[in-house]
Symmetry: C2
Subunit: 314 residues, 2 copies
């Protein structure tokens, strides 16, 4: 039996989207009309999540929606941009009213939490996939290409939880109910580090969000900035959930596991006291050095090589 | 054999994208950084094209890319917005170097033609689908909700060509080489009506682009504006290709066929001489009347009912 058509889906599930500042005309015309904040740059990013690759097709639709928005908000955090608007392109194998209602509820709960307005979308029939594009604005954007030799390297918080949670999400191992809930939260509800970004925006020289794994993402900073970095692996803040679920592999997951969406950023040596007052949860993990873009890892005074080189999308 | 990874795809095929005005930082960081024009509103729209539904999976990748961008630029035309930037979320079953090169070439040729910059993207593995989001700006946006009883209804140019071309695109009928080339152009290379929009922007009261079929899209104007419309079906400008390919069905296709991407717009009765000087190719097809959102069709003095009610995406 056919489900609701495209126009009904938008009207029934998404036209009640929360609308914040700057939205002159929201969903329902050929385009949304938006008033950008004067004197700031816009920051925009797009991510696609495909069922069976980025989330299980039978996952909770509210959590899937929340994750789709959060991973994009994290890209705004990495640039020190304040969230304004987002669009949703949803491809669905069939239009299931219960699934859509739960998806919209999860999406809007997250949108309200972060003060971001849904301003457009498209629904098409096909294999389940979700593309979200967020736009924010910034008076002091952070980029990947500003790290300089001598800067300190920081991460904004604990790492490894999402990678350790993945086997639980995929149903590959049995855990307690409490650990199952914590695994769901770690994987589906990462916290975009917008507050940390705002705190460090004026003193950090570069930033990236950790989606592909710390060492891979720090590598992006190094190559963009034309420097290298030395990381003290034993200094990494390992998430408690990673220790609980992954045991001895927790440190490896903290170094190379993706999907935590903490920030990795660099700060000039003469700003460290200021940084630690502004972002007390941040942890220093290494130092920027002159070099060719490589990340050098040290553990207990020895060179350390990761068993995996970070998550590859293909 | 695995193809190139995500980072290589972006670097190899899309990092050479043409970059126009307002692009402070393009592809390669967590977000693009963009400088919006002062004193204008932004207009943004997103569309997903799924292989097997919106284009044949074995179609020419350069033409598929061109169509994906053009249908989005048409949404900007419908709002009288000038194209600035776009993003591309590409889901591919495998990464085929020849396909990607042809796709990028077609995309950039179209982007250069319309002066729009690719500023971000995402590539994921999965069934072929293409999501493009365009952003433009406008000092005088057109909306769907401004039509008033007494306004004249216009279309910007000939209709029915893309619908008549569809059986050729799908390989369901044999035509001459010349008609085959014309069918490919009508379906894959619709011309976003940006010049017409700029010409009529100051006097039109509403506008929509014709993606779902004239009568369906005029219905969107009527419902958004709280009016009805009377259309003289015999006044419709029928595309020559529609007559050549569809014969007697050409008029029906002009009324209900999708994918032409002409504009339908309304103009106050006292501005018709001005309109016809500004947009000499536009054709008057009816009149806005008081009513409840319905479109009433007349042919040779009789009521006329379409056999189909416009394209449904689900």
């Amino acid at each position: 039996m056919p489900g609701p058509g495209e126009f009904d889906i938008i009207r029934d599930y998404f036209s009640g989207a929360p609308q914040g500042a700057g939205v002159v005309l929201g969903i329902g015309d050929d385009c949304a009309l938006l008033q950008p904040p004067a004197g700031e740059l816009l920051a925009t990013s797009v991510d696609t999540l495909v069922a069976g690759r980025h989330f299980p097709a039978d996952g909770d639709p509210a959590l899937i929606a929340s994750r789709a928005l959060r991973v994009n908000l994290s890209d705004l955090a990495a640039m020190n941009a304040r969230p304004l608007w987002f669009t949703l392109a949803l491809t669905l194998p069939e239009s299931d009213a219960d699934w859509l209602q739960a998806f919209a509820d999860g999406l809007f709960m997250c949108a309200r939490e972060y003060g971001v307005s849904l301003v457009g979308g498209d629904t098409t029939k096909g294999p389940l996939s979700i593309t979200v594009q967020v736009t924010g604005s910034s008076a002091a954007p952070l980029r990947r290409d500003g790290a300089r030799a001598g800067d300190a390297v920081y991460v904004s918080g604990p790492l490894g939880a999402a990678a350790a949670a993945l086997p639980v999400i995929l149903g590959q191992c049995e855990v307690s109910d409490r650990e199952h809930r914590r695994a769901l939260a770690a994987y589906y509800e990462p916290v975009p580090q917008l507050h940390t970004a705002a705190a460090i925006g004026a003193i950090a020289t570069s930033a990236v969000d950790i989606s592909d794994g710390l060492l891979a993402d720090l590598g992006h900073i190094c190559r963009a900035s034309g420097v290298s970095a030395e990381v003290q692996i034993d200094a990494l803040p390992v998430a408690e959930l990673a220790r609980a679920l992954a045991g001895e592999r927790a440190l490896e997951l903290a170094a190379t596991g993706g999907d935590d969406y903490q920030l990795c950023f660099t700060v000039p040596a003469d700003k460290l006291a200021e940084l630690e007052a502004l972002a007390p949860g941040a942890v220093r993990i290494g130092t920027v050095i002159a070099g060719d873009g490589r990340v050098h890892n040290r553990l207990n005074g020895e060179n350390w090589a990761a068993a995996s080189a970070g998550y590859q999308h293909f």
